[in-house]
Structure formats: C-alpha cells, structure tokens
Symmetry: C2
Subunit: 373 residues, 2 copies
C-alpha cells in the first residue's frame, strides 16, 4: 500500500475505523499513542511497550532538540534506531512546549525565540527549523509549527490563528523528505467560527492528516467536545484526525464518537508514577491502605502483565516502599487499559455498536467507583 494513504474501513455515526499506512507499519485507527517525550516512554522498555499492544508512539521535538540534540539523533540513524522502536513514531513540532515549558518566549511573524527550561539558554524555532529538526529526528508523522494560544482570548486567538496558518504553509514548503507525513494543526481556542475557519484552511492544504491542537489546555470538557463537533463535518473523510494531548478513558470515548482517529497523552504514565490506575469504571490510588491486603489484580479482566502477575497488595507494598518497579507496573496497566479500550471502540465501530458501547461506558464510568478512590 502507498505510504500515508488513509483507508476509512467503517463508519458508525461519527465514529471511524480506518488504517493509515506508514513506512514503519500500518496504524489501525482509532489509536492511542503512548508518549515517549525524551525518546523513552517513561519506565518502560520497547519490549514491554510492544507486549502491551502499543503501535504508534510520540516523541517531543522540543525536548529532543534541547537534549540530546537532533544532529546526534540523526547521526545515530534517527529516532527509530536511537530508541529501538521499530513501529511508527510521531513527533510534535515543539510549538506547544515552547509556549507551555520554556522560561521566556518572544513571538514574531517569523517564529519564536525562547529560553530552554533546562539551562535558560536562548533558542529560536521557526516553521522551517521545526521541519528541519523533525526531518533529522526521522519520525513517520511530523507536525506543523503552530501557536497554541490561551483558549478564551478572542483577539489573541484571531492573531495567533493567522500566524499558525501562515506557518503551516511555510512548513509545507520547507518539507523535503518524502518518507514522512506532515500533519497540519488547526487551532481556534473555544471559538466555533475560528475552529471552522482553521479546519477549512487545513483541509484545503496538501496534508495527509490533520491535527486538532489547543484543546485540553484549560477550557471545559463541554467546550472541548463542542469544538470537536464543529470541526468533524468540515474535515476530509479520507484523512486521519489527531486530537493532540488528549487521552483519558472518558475523553477517548467522547473523542472517538466525535470522529477522532488518533490520540496521545502523558496521563496514563504520569498517573502511574503518582500511584493511580485507570479502570473502565473509574480510578484508584493504590497507595490507599484499603489495598494492603487486597489479593485481586487491578482489574479482574485485564490481560496486561501487571494484572496477570501481581496483586493490589503487592503493588501497594511497592508504592509504600518507594520501589521504582511500581511506576513500571502501573504504567503497563494504564497504557494497556487505554489501548484495549480504543481497540474495543474500533471493534464496536466495525460491528456498528458504537452508540450502545459508549452509552454503557458512560453509565459504568465513575458509578462503580472501587473502594479507596
């Protein structure tokens, strides 16, 4: 199959099941991508990631540009070789991190000058340099350099959207590698008309996929979902839609039922390092003393290594004893939980049961909160 071809296999209401072909394998959508910010999904080996069913993983351009540097990764044969991940990889453009992490930043029409959050050194990203860096990193899917603005400020959003659109065109022109798919990122805060304008603009350009940026950044859940409903009918059916930085179980269900094909989020691995686990009915913090004698796995019907091997009592012991293994085992469960959930959503779309599945999920979620949450 041709690279970066998206095949829409089935549709159920707004939900979509598809396949996106990359040089490192086929991505079956909808998909959840674990985040490997610094060329490692925290606390997990590539073998463990593979075993829990990960296909696509994300790495952050901002972090890798600062450390260890894009030239070094290129010299090492690119990200796939460097971190030993043979499946598809996606890199963001650094846009979001420049605005959320760097110490100071100055935006102009040409790009952004910012200070590293690591050592305060000064750097500059432009649409052209963001593409050049991502070409050195060598991911299968790369992203346009965008401006992620404060969601409620109308005037700022209008101004930022213009830059984001101009930068998207400059990214397209700057791109040289044929073995990478460049996705355009639409923005627009919580303003339906700006979101619609941005969706139409990105749909008009020659991107093999479109990312929805600037959500889950401070707006309400209702506002986020409303924005997805605005862009869904405006985006081309034959291109994947990637909702950036979103990935709680409930957001995945709501996103998939609103036409989203791809998700990524640090939530499952960050929660794991804070001793919290995701289940289909809610969340638990395993540090709670209620679990000290609990012989059950985290989730009875979970097929992950952690649930197949360890009791809640043992996991709680590791947490209380401050053992690193806790983060590994909880990350395995949380990632598997999301990957299995999105796999099941795909199956229900193929079977035409998306509406009843998602309704049942909403009813169960948080209703049967396990003890200790």
């Amino acid at each position: 199959m041709e690279h970066f071809n998206f095949r829409l296999i089935a549709k159920d209401h707004a939900g979509r099941a598809g396949e996106f072909v990359t040089p490192h394998g086929v991505i079956k959508t909808p998909i959840f991508a674990p985040v490997g910010t610094q060329a490692t999904v925290k606390a997990l080996t590539p073998d463990q990631l593979d075993a829990l069913g990960a296909t696509l993983i994300l790495a952050n351009t901002y972090h890798l540009y600062l450390r260890p540097g894009a030239d070094l990764i290129a010299e090492m044969g690119g990200l796939h070789n460097f971190m030993n991940w043979s499946g598809p990889i996606l890199t963001d453009s650094g846009g979001y991190q420049v605005f959320s992490l760097s110490k100071r930043r100055e935006i102009d029409a040409g790009g952004v000058t910012f200070q590293s959050h690591i050592d305060g050194s000064t750097h500059r990203f432009t649409p052209e340099s963001a593409i050049a860096i991502q070409e050195k990193l060598g991911a299968d899917i790369i992203l346009t350099f965008d401006e992620c603005s404060e969601p409620y400020d109308r005037a700022y959003n209008e101004e930022a959207l213009e830059r984001t659109h101009q930068w998207a065109e400059r990214c397209l022109s700057a791109k040289t590698r044929k073995d990478q798919a460049l996705f355009g990122i639409l923005q627009g805060g919580i303003f339906p008309d700006l979101r619609a304008r941005s969706a139409k603009f990105m749909a008009s350009l020659d991107f093999p996929g479109i990312a929805i940026g600037g959500l889950s950044v401070g707006e309400t859940k209702e506002e986020m979902l409303a924005m997805l409903e605005v862009v869904d009918p405006l985006l081309p059916e034959d291109k994947p839609r990637y909702l950036m930085g979103v990935g709680s179980p409930e957001d995945i269900v709501e996103g998939v039922t609103r036409g989203v094909d791809m998700f990524d989020c640090v939530l499952p691995t960050r929660m794991a390092r804070n001793h919290a686990v995701l289940t289909r009915t809610g969340r638990m913090n395993l540090r709670n003393a209620n679990f000290s004698h609990d012989l059950r796995p985290i989730e009875d019907d979970c097929d992950c290594y952690t649930c197949q091997t360890f009791t809640r009592a043992y996991l709680r012991h590791l947490i209380v004893a401050q053992e690193m293994l806790a983060a590994t085992l909880l990350s395995i469960h949380n990632l598997r939980m999301l990957i299995k959930l999105i796999h099941d959503l795909r199956e229900t779309i193929l079977n035409g049961n998306l509406e009843s599945f998602s309704e049942e999920f909403r009813q169960n979620f948080q209703k049967h909160r396990p003890k200790g949450t």
Copy 2:
C-alpha cells in the same frame, strides 16, 4: 532428588561446581543471587530477572519484617507468591541490618532491641523470632540470627562470636518447617583463629549449608581473602558455602577460586542506579560525555537485552535526561554480566581450567580500562 542435598560435581583446585536442590528448583553452584531487599530486585520485573538468567534471589528479613510485615506476606501465600518469583529465594536473618541500618540497638544474651530506620519504632529480634519471621516469609533458604561485629576489635569479636554460636543453636531448635534449609553463619572478624573456631563450630551442627558472614564490612581485600583461605579446608565438602554480601566481578573470581559456592550483593543494581556498568575489563560510568556519540553496546559480546538493543549513546542520553529506564537497562546488564561470569567460572571448573581462566581474568581486569572510567 532430596531437598537440600548438595552434590559436588567437580573440583578444580579449591574451586567447586555443584548442585543444591530446593523446593523451587535446583541451584547450580557457584551462583550469584541478585538482591531483592523489599521483595523486588530494584527496577526489574520477575520476567526481566528470569530472562537474564537469575535463579536464586535474596530478600531481606529486616526490611520485610518492618514493611509490609511478615504476617501480611504469609497471608499473601509467602514471598514466592507475593513477589511472583517461582525460583528459589533466600532470606537473611536480619542480623546484619539490625547492626548496619537501625537507629539504635541494645544487644543482650537474648537478642537485640532496635529502632526502625523507617519510623524510629522499637522492635526486638531474637534467634527464635528471626526464625519465626523467616518461616512466615517462606524462602527456600533461611539464615541463623548472628551478630556482625566490627572486624578489628579482638575482644568484641570473641564476645560476639560466643553469642553468634549460642544463637545458631537456638535457631536450629526453633526451626519447625521442613521445606526450608537453615544455614548457619560463621563470624570471627579478621582473626584466623576465631574464623577457624567458628567454621568448626558451624560444621559440627546440623546445617545443610554454611554462610560466611562479617566480610566486606571494612577490612581489606587481602584480609577478606585470607579469611576465606582459613575456613575453606575446615568446612564440609558436602555442604554449600555462601559468602554473604560479596559480589564484585573480582571478588567473585577470588571467592570461587577459594571454594565459595554462593554470593549475593547489591553492587550491580546499586551501581546501575548510579550510572556505572560492570565489564570483564573494568567499570565505566556511562554519564561520561565520552559516550555521547558511542554507537557500541556496553560490552561487545554481552548477550543481555540492553547490549543486544541499545547503544552507549542512548543509555547516556537516558542518564543525562534522568529517565528511570536507565536504571532498569543498566541493572539488566550488570546482573547479566555477573551471572554470565559465574556461569563461565562453573564451566571452567567442570573443564579443569579454573586456574588459567582466573589468571587471565585478573590480567585483563582494570588493565584495559575503557575510556571514561
């Protein structure tokens, strides 16, 4: 085969190759046991331990007694079930930790009263309670409660040795489980006559194995090896000898050539968390900038997952970026390196080549120090 039978298969000079039968499998000696202090070998899953060739692992009675408690582990089906290790497990008696870790301690003929290093609470270990706790934990090999004394104080060592011998007899009497092997621990500081007296005493009691305690606690390397040479001819040929808490590559070679069958040490995993790796020719700290562009594995001919999968450059990146995965990957290498070394020592004993192998090892070790060490 009968449990706790030791079969001496071959001898080469003082080096011994044997098999020790436990309820959870046969231990091929000489063997190195990774340390799982708190019922986890730090940063590794049981699957990873199994893959790197671990057979016997050690857990610490002192730590597990304090947290999560021996009763809880018994309720969970014992250590094997709790931590999901199906191979043999050894627990120490807590004697060493009471002296090295606890905040305050008072020794009397009956036992030791001490304060927890975790919360300062007061506890008491006696020979009888140390056995009762270890019976609850349920390891295959358990140890007598001993007093690990300062190595150079003659008067104190004489006094402590008397207690250690009395306590060993009390441990033997207190033992009730038939599916655990109780090893006696000999002591004696750096005094050849005390070591000899203790070796003869422990050899005279009905222990299926004998541990050599109180070494690598502040004495010189020469003094430690001299003590091994004192006890070697005095210990029964048909029982395994376990050198407690010792396990650098060079100490393993010197120990095996002096008749030691079993080793354990936190060194490989602790070094890994400090970014240092063991090789057959020395040590390297992978944080060193020399490794930033180094495409080689840690050791060219190592068969561990880390060496088969990752470059030094990637490992250094993980270390500099403070990623947890570094500790996991370096622990895998360091443990595999020791387990493979001791496996090779066993082979050379079976082939009658121990002397030339150990001489070559000594010549290579530290002579070809890799850059950056």
